[in-house]
């Protein structure tokens, strides 16, 4: 294949977009609407997961040591925790820190008068988990470790968060699949209508002796470009809509600011941009490839 032929095929693909501007506009609009809805939903899901994850990370289990335990054993237990995958972080709380914390939380200024530490045996590790669903497993492990007196945890919070996370994952997967099916249907319909009009053109090319590749390539390039533009437009829209919505919620519902851990737009777009572009280009490619194939048997 000559390079000039490749250039020609590419140029024809670009020209086709302008020659059939109404079809191109309809395709870009359909693709944009589908991917815009997808982008919005993607943002909502990712934020839900982010909020749930932040809540999960706030759930800790507290590990109390045996009375009179050696510092070296506490350090060894620390090493054991460090080796566990489901542990995201753990903090050593000394009896003094525990007492200071208690005084600050419950006694206020009256606590200043107390000089003896009633929490002398309350040194502990506060353990934070990356995956709360594995809480029971971790607790079982810790209870079997020498030097640990007791493990405090909240099973209700852990199971609620785990359940909520699974629910969000299932619902989001269902809606994304539904959106994808609708998108592919709408886009392939638009392409079918567009290409039916050009069936005669494809027939002429075939009679003159054009190969399937030569006939199909401009259509495929056209599909890819339409898919690409159809992905960029909703990305720009989602960017501004996302900003606006987050600003609105943060201002109007400032009370919930501690609970709502929104994902920064840059972080969201790190995954949304490739997903949308791959979807746009992929649907454009497949849609045109499959639809042209129907008309190639001349």
């Amino acid at each position: 294949m000559r390079i000039s032929t490749l250039f020609y095929v590419f140029r024809q693909g670009v020209r086709n977009i302008f020659r059939n501007k109404w079809f191109s506009l309809a395709s870009v609009a359909t693709m944009s609407i589908c991917l815009f809805l997808f982008g919005l939903f993607f943002a909502v899901i990712v934020n839900f997961q982010n909020i749930v994850k932040a809540a999960q990370e706030g759930v800790s289990i507290v590990v109390f040591f045996d009375y009179g335990i050696e510092d070296s054993r506490i350090a060894e237990i620390g090493d054991l925790l460090d080796a566990r995958e489901e542990v995201s972080d753990f903090v050593y709380v000394s009896p003094e820190e525990a007492w200071d914390g208690f005084k600050g939380d419950y006694l206020g200024d009256s606590g200043l008068e107390l000089t003896e530490n009633p929490l002398a045996d309350s040194a502990n590790y506060q353990v934070y988990m990356s995956d709360v669903s594995k809480q029971a497993e971790l607790v079982e492990f810790l209870e079997s470790v020498d030097g640990i007196r007791s493990v405090m945890r909240s099973e209700l919070v852990a199971s609620t968060l785990t359940g909520f996370n699974s629910l969000v994952a299932y619902v989001s997967m269902g809606i994304i699949i539904l959106l994808l099916v609708v998108s592919v249907f709408l886009i392939s319909n638009t392409i079918t209508v567009g290409i039916s009009v050009r069936k005669e053109e494809i027939g002429i090319m075939k009679y003159v002796g054009a190969t399937d590749f030569f006939v199909r390539s401009p259509f495929v390039i056209e599909g890819i470009l339409i898919g690409f533009v159809g992905a960029l437009i909703p990305l720009v829209l989602v960017y501004y809509v996302y900003h606006a919505v987050i600003d609105y919620i943060t201002i109007k519902f400032s009370v919930l600011s501690g609970l709502l851990a929104f994902m920064p737009v840059e972080e969201l777009f790190k995954s949304l941009v490739p997903v949308c572009v791959i979807m746009g280009v992929g649907i454009g490619f497949l849609g045109s490839f499959i639809t042209v194939r129907k008309h190639l048997r001349v």
């Binding site: 000559r2 000039s4 053109e201 002429i204 090319m205 003159v208 002796g209 190969t211 399937d212 001349v298």
Partner: protein
Amino acid sequence: MKDNAARSRGKKKTVNSKEVIVFDNVVKAYSTGAPALNGISLTINRGEFVFIVGDSGSGKSTLIKLLLKELNPTEGTIIVNGQNLNKLRRRKVPKYRRNIGVVFQDFRLLKDRNVYENVAFAQRIVQTPMREMRKNVPSTLSLVGLADKYKARPMQLSGGEQQRVALARALVNHPPIILADEPTGNLDPKNSWEIMKLFEEINEQGTTVVVVTHNKEIVDAMQKRVIALKKGVIVSDEKEGGYVDEN
């Protein structure tokens, strides 16, 4: 029919170098009705000018579709330029078609491209280098008398001019065969004659020309070989014949 098929498969058709189109006992039947072509055998030699005439339903269109490998024969063998079309694989069809310049009644030009692009399209398909294309396209347009209209779109041209563009597209790659399906069907008498004169000139340069037509006046006047079809059968084949009036 099964016997015929077996016979045509068993007997290997030999083709001499002069023969460019050979139909050997060709039958084409559709799913319903009588066969469109029923046992056609004909040979067209290199450099011949042949008219194929016949009423609607005589099988002319089917014959053209078979020649373009748009359809496959139900029975019999078709050999074009030494290639057995029965054995030609689908992916080889584009290359085969490049050896046949086709001209249709309805011109079949790419409406969104100008005259130059329509003719150049045939050259692009065979991957002619750009430098050669820039020489070949204008010279072919000059041959059909349209050198000054290379920028015009098909819709800006008369019927006769559009047919010349189609002819230029068919000629530009110098195919050994030109196949024309009712090329004067949409033209007035003056344009019809001009197109036929062009076909004659091309034929004089050695190209085999096959014209399917209804135009009695032209067939009678040109005194070329005339093959007449009726209900899928050849009813006459005359070397310097006239239009066969079937009524």
